[in-house]
Point group: C2
Chain length 156, copies 2
């Protein structure tokens, strides 16, 4: 993945989370992911596909961060990963990808978005079938953390 | 999902599995999926995105069917879901989607493909964030079974 391709995802993540929940996560530094675990307890994945680029956006939340974010988004105190929380992960995944799509387009990279899938469970294995490196960023909220990963890359 | 959109996936599944492994699976009847489980023990997901349509292709294998197929594909006796088997699921997912893409294009529906992700583990929850119904088809091999699911639908 071109390092320049990660910035639209960082910007969109900060925008979407703060707009939806009034929570301002702190972004860590991008790293290259070497493991194939899903990181968190609930994970959204959305495919991105254009004539020139392809890949996935993955967003994986620990329990504390997603309950904090969705409770603030929906103004209700969620204590378990229930259907509403899982749907909110789909919505967040979609919105972050939509925000990044706009900025990628300004870089001349046009993508269309597939629809999100959400995986629930601890210690899941999630592998990517792609030669492109997976760039991973951790974000801290007050109560927990989540990661945003992308392997978006130019078609060879 | 338009019922007419499922046929390219059935045809591509039969083509890819028989070409790659010389195994000829028997296709069941399409049903609408109502649960949100991942069905099998190893599952490939690939996003599909075009200007007019969007969705995911999901292929989930039980242990017996994927070991049978990959053993035949790679002419080696696989007894566990190891990295080679997981990579083969990615390859199969990619090839089935590529085959369906060609036929969908002849129906006037142009998609670009994202890259596959593979999830490993029994009893995983896998939910779709999409209003389109998920059409599911079970395929039987000599030793096991797998399912192919798609929620490809027109953008509203």
């Amino acid at each position: 993945m071109d390092a320049s391709l990660i910035n639209p995802f960082i910007k969109a993540t900060l925008n979407v989370i703060s707009t939806m929940s009034n929570i301002n996560p702190k972004a860590g530094k991008p790293t290259v992911k070497t493991s194939s675990d899903a990181w968190g307890i609930v994970t959204g994945v959305i495919g991105m596909a254009g004539q020139d680029v392809m890949g996935n956006l993955v967003i994986s939340f620990d329990e504390a961060s997603i309950l904090e974010i969705v409770s603030a988004m929906l103004m209700e105190n969620f204590q378990d990963i229930n259907q509403d929380v899982v749907d909110a992960v789909g919505e967040i995944t979609n919105m972050i990808c939509g925000g990044a799509k706009k900025d990628l387009s300004e870089l001349g990279l046009h993508i269309e978005m597939a629809t999100p899938v959400m995986m629930i469970g601890k210690g899941l294995e999630l592998a990517q079938f792609s030669k492109a490196p997976v760039i991973s960023l951790q974000f801290l909220t007050q109560k927990g953390a989540f990661v945003v990963e992308s392997n978006l890359s130019r078609r060879s």
